[in-house]
């Protein structure tokens, strides 16, 4: 049992997958800070509304102000770029994680807490733990992001029943969302008899079944990921809620290592480079050894 769990937690993954995942995650951070947690910029003007969440209170973190928000944004952007460009990636990664963590706490400390950032925050803290060569360390980091993605789905299905009861799938939950922030397409869908009722059940069941993603492999796994991508595309089309910070973390389920490295494909011609070189053959990638 312990052996099986050990193998599952540390199932070797090509380090290349982490490299690609890093690029996705760190390049996404500035976009998130401008658009999705962009309320932090606005909170500079509404200082009286600061209601810090527990972690922010424990750390005595001050609320948003111009003197804080601009430098914090700059630090996270610089650290993210450094991590992508592999300049001291470990230190840069932790700086980005802590800085963005503070930013996210600020975004959630004005009366409204979102839950689409769990996997992103987990990713930011586990990515710097992977060194240049350890496929097992890469495996653990990938597993953590995967678990965070699944936890966000599964625990939200639990929360729906805990807080909303069985009225959640049977009631007018989606009509509520469409009335508040619906699109033309959403209004159209709401007019189709029982479309919203069926959707509510499909989502509840899919979220409940999401732990399967952790155990599927190959095509069934990619089909599962595709299903959830479709689900997020639908909620965006219907109620303009995209969950992008969470969606990008779905990439941890995909064989990102098959995306050829530009540096290596230049060196070896256009041939796609799928396999990870054995330990000791990393001399051609000096940057990945740093940190």
């Amino acid at each position: 049992m312990v052996g099986a769990l050990n193998r599952w937690w540390f199932e070797p993954v090509p380090v290349r997958r982490i490299t690609v995942l890093r690029t996705i995650v760190y390049l996404f951070l500035p976009v998130d800070m401008l658009l999705f947690t962009g309320s932090v910029w606005g909170h500079v003007h509404t200082t009286s509304g600061y209601q810090p969440v527990l972690v922010a209170r424990l750390l005595h973190l001050p609320g948003a102000s111009p003197a804080l928000v601009y430098p914090l944004f700059a630090v996270v952007v610089v650290a993210s770029l450094a991590a992508v460009l592999r300049r001291a990636p470990r230190a840069a990664g932790y700086v980005a994680a802590l800085g963005y963590g503070y930013w996210a706490l600020l975004a959630m400390s004005y009366g409204k807490v979102d839950h689409d950032h769990l996997a992103l925050i987990v990713a930011l803290f586990v990515l710097p733990t992977v060194g240049a060569r350890s496929r097992e360390a890469a495996g653990w980091a990938v597993r953590c992001v995967q678990i965070a993605v699944v936890a966000a789905y599964f625990l939200s299905a639990y929360a729906k029943i805990r807080h909303g009861g069985w009225e959640w799938p049977n009631g007018a939950t989606f009509q509520w969302a469409i009335s508040r922030r619906g699109t033309f397409f959403g209004e159209f869908l709401a007019g189709v008899p029982n479309a919203l009722l069926v959707s509510q059940w499909v989502i509840l069941l899919a979220e409940t079944a999401s732990p399967a993603l952790l155990f599927l492999r190959g095509r069934p796994l990619y089909a599962g990921v595709l299903f959830f991508l479709g689900f997020h595309a639908m909620t965006w089309a219907v109620i303009t809620i995209h969950f992008l910070p969470h969606v990008i973390c779905l990439a941890a389920f995909l064989p990102l290592e098959r995306i050829p490295s530009r540096r290596r494909s230049r060196r070896r011609g256009a041939r796609a480079d799928v396999a990870e070189p054995p330990a000791g053959e990393v001399g051609g990638r000096p940057m990945e050894v740093a940190g």
């Binding site: 509304g49 996210a104 009366g111 496929r135 929360a159 805990r162 009631g171 007018a172 009509q175 709401a190």
Partner: protein, 145 residues
């Protein structure tokens, strides 16, 4: 390369602890525990014959025009859901609307300045999960200085 026993141990312990706090937050905690709180976004329900409430900010300008100002960070510095959570604070102290007006003028200087702001709750009544009627209930109003 294999991870050492120590490198494995701290990883298992840390992930176990994070999962434990997350499970605690899910079962017993609230939003205050962010990022370990329950995933309660959209985790409430609306009865098929219930009501849908949403907050709207209405503006009256000197020329007599009436418009609706989106309650979004890039308009008034706050998100609608945040203002809804803090609505009782605004009802107790309507002068807080002055802050929204000032932020709005600073962020959108090209828009006409409001002389009066109103926060209204739009109530949509449902029958069999579909809207049948709509009304606006005024919650707070403020003459902008």
């Amino acid at each position: 390369m294999e991870l050492s026993a120590g490198a494995r141990a701290w990883r298992v312990i840390v992930s176990g602890m994070v999962l434990a706090v997350l499970l605690y937050g899910t079962v017993a905690g609230g939003d205050d525990l962010f990022p370990f709180g329950p995933m309660v976004q959209y985790a409430f329900s609306v009865p098929p014959d219930g009501e849908i409430r949403s907050l709207h900010l209405q503006s009256e300008t000197a020329s007599g025009g009436r418009t609706e100002i989106p309650i979004e960070p890039y308009y008034v510095g706050v998100r609608r859901a945040e203002l809804e959570t803090q609505l009782t604070r605004y009802e107790r102290d309507p002068s807080l609307l002055q802050g929204l007006a000032d932020t709005y003028s600073r962020l959108r200087p090209q828009d006409p300045r409001p002389i009066r702001l109103r926060l209204v709750t739009r109530v949509i009544t449902l029958k069999d999960r579909r809207p049948v009627s709509t009304r606006d209930d005024e919650r707070v109003s403020w003459s902008v200085r």
